[in-house]
Symmetry: C2
Subunit: 336 residues, 2 copies
């Protein structure tokens, strides 16, 4: 069987089984020095130390030329920003701050040094913004350019996981969605003046919701993840991880006015199925949700509810309560 | 300028300058929670925590299909072992134990699931051997297969760095070198029965010198690195980092009898310039060296000395004291 037959998430599930079935035979003295508090499968893994108040969060994310970006839609400096932003967003989704990063670059030999400098400038832009530090990495020759970031974050509260959603919880996002997908669409269609469009800015310089993540911890929210593959798709993953279903009320999904006006006919599809929003998706009982929304900046909104429906199934309803047929699907790396 | 004009190590030096010039503007409260004890540029970066006895070691290493391995010379299961071995070796060179790993796979959609299972079996083999745990990762579509491992290790002593070699130190290795390069040569030449050759085993299943690394810490050795790009080349890097020169006494370089017998005419070239040995190279004053060699397993040997010669220049002398002309060069990723 080829991995394209299985799909990205089928393969990820297999890998979880392969790697969880084995316990280390040696090194137990070492293992006693830390505990895996959140295993593989969440936005980030989390480890804790016996006598310390700190939880460490580990995540990694990769962008491949021609798959996740192209020179036409993503200048090198923005690529640097985005490569780190997606990792910071994973840490934000657990309620943590980014701390230290390792950068791996796969590069064709003909790559321009000035482009790599731009890439690092973009990475330093976002590291400076969020107090993260690049402490190492690797550079290798590759026929296709790729950027892999491995990021370690620090949380002082209990990390928020994607496995704790329960029927009756409300579902909310920490900000508007669909902007990045709208910006990408404008770039591909060649109809945007890139220096003017707020949607293109959302696509090229997504701003991870680190402060919002900590607000969620403080409010007592126990279930969250970041929106990287599209709201509907990511909510489905959160529901699968929690063993629940969900309903999205389409008319309550927040979107930027610029998205609604640029895409009057299909802004909702972009908001539901577009990726790379890097807002946080979270669930909570009504009282905690109320607290959280009071503390979050404008733009956060309840978009649905958790149900005891089929595990991982997300139903989308319009204002009249009629089911909206899915117009797209989330990102599957190995789909044809 | 293209990166192939600059070379891998010229580019690495530029990246160090770009990333060291900026201090994070925010997040200072976070920075106060840890300190970067060993910055970018060593085998691994090291961070320490104010109240903890533990030093964390961070490293990452990548293997790209057609660049670092081919299906012909490296079966998937061995690729899994090697991808993690090179990272464990970096941690060993600092005197630490491996702890947790993130695995990133770039894969063409036509990749067989059974090959990926083999890859993970190889990774679990070595993780079980050294008490490491895979806690997360990322899988992405890519036209060329690659494996990136980001490994965090733990050290309880002071990490050994490559910047502390001093004139008058002796130079030693913790085991024989050249075996992996000999095995690769046999595989390429098609002259090895792969199940018989100890050299092929050295190439496919290199065993990182974790125990030796801790022995070096206990003996008080302050300068070390692992041999991944070839003994002569890596000693040059250690000398550059320490601002010193070195001499290698060619007749003292340890090599397996199998290497000497299979390559009677050029075993020394393979030992000096072959890569992927994953033994440790270290320097120490005579009294500490004596202690270290008593505590290390058989195979460790003094191979040279540190001099106040030109920074980073390694001179190789034969038994008569005559200079041996360089027959090869270390690995440069971006060289033509």
């Amino acid at each position: 069987m080829r991995i394209s037959d299985l799909g990205e998430f089928g393969l990820i599930e297999l890998v979880r089984q392969w790697t969880q079935s084995a316990e280390p035979e040696t090194g137990l003295a070492l293992q006693a020095q830390f505990r895996i508090a959140v295993p593989n499968g969440d936005d980030a893994a989390a480890i804790t130390f016996p006598d310390g108040p700190i939880t460490e969060l580990y995540t990694t994310d990769t962008m491949v030329d021609g798959v996740h970006f192209t020179a036409a839609t993503t200048p090198w400096r923005d690529l640097g920003w985005k490569a780190i932003a997606s990792n910071i967003s994973d840490v934000a989704a657990m309620g943590g701050d980014p701390a230290v990063a390792l950068i791996t670059l796969g590069l064709p030999p003909e790559t321009l040094v000035s482009d790599i400098q731009e890439l690092y400038l973009g990475m330093m832009d976002i590291c400076g913004e969020f107090g993260a530090q690049i402490i190492g990495g690797d550079m290798v020759r590759s026929p296709v350019a790729f950027v892999t970031v491995a990021l370690t974050g620090i949380a002082t509260g209990t990390p928020i996981v994607r496995t704790a959603a329960e029927p009756g919880h409300l579902v909310a996002v920490t900000g508007p969605v669909g902007g990045s997908a709208g910006g990408l669409r404008q770039l591909i269609d060649g109809c945007a003046n890139s220096s003017d469009s707020v949607l293109v800015l959302q696509h090229r310089r997504p701003y991870p919701h680190v402060a919002a993540g900590k607000t969620l911890v403080a409010a007592g929210v126990s279930s969250a993840m970041d929106v990287s593959d599209g709201l509907a798709d990511d909510l489905g993953k959160l529901c699968s991880a929690s063993g629940v279903g969900a309903t999205i009320f389409a008319h309550r999904v927040p979107a930027l006015p610029a998205l609604r006006s640029a895409f009057p006919g299909n802004w909702l599809d972009l908001a539901l199925y577009g990726g790379e929003d890097y807002v946080l998706l979270f669930t909570a009982p009504g009282d905690i949700m109320e607290l959280a929304l009071l503390a979050l900046p404008e733009g956060a909104a309840v978009v649905g509810e958790i149900t005891d429906g089929d595990k991982g199934v997300v139903t989308i309803l319009d204002e009249s309560g009629a089911s909206v047929p899915p117009a797209g699907a989330g990102w599957d790396h190995f789909a044809d």
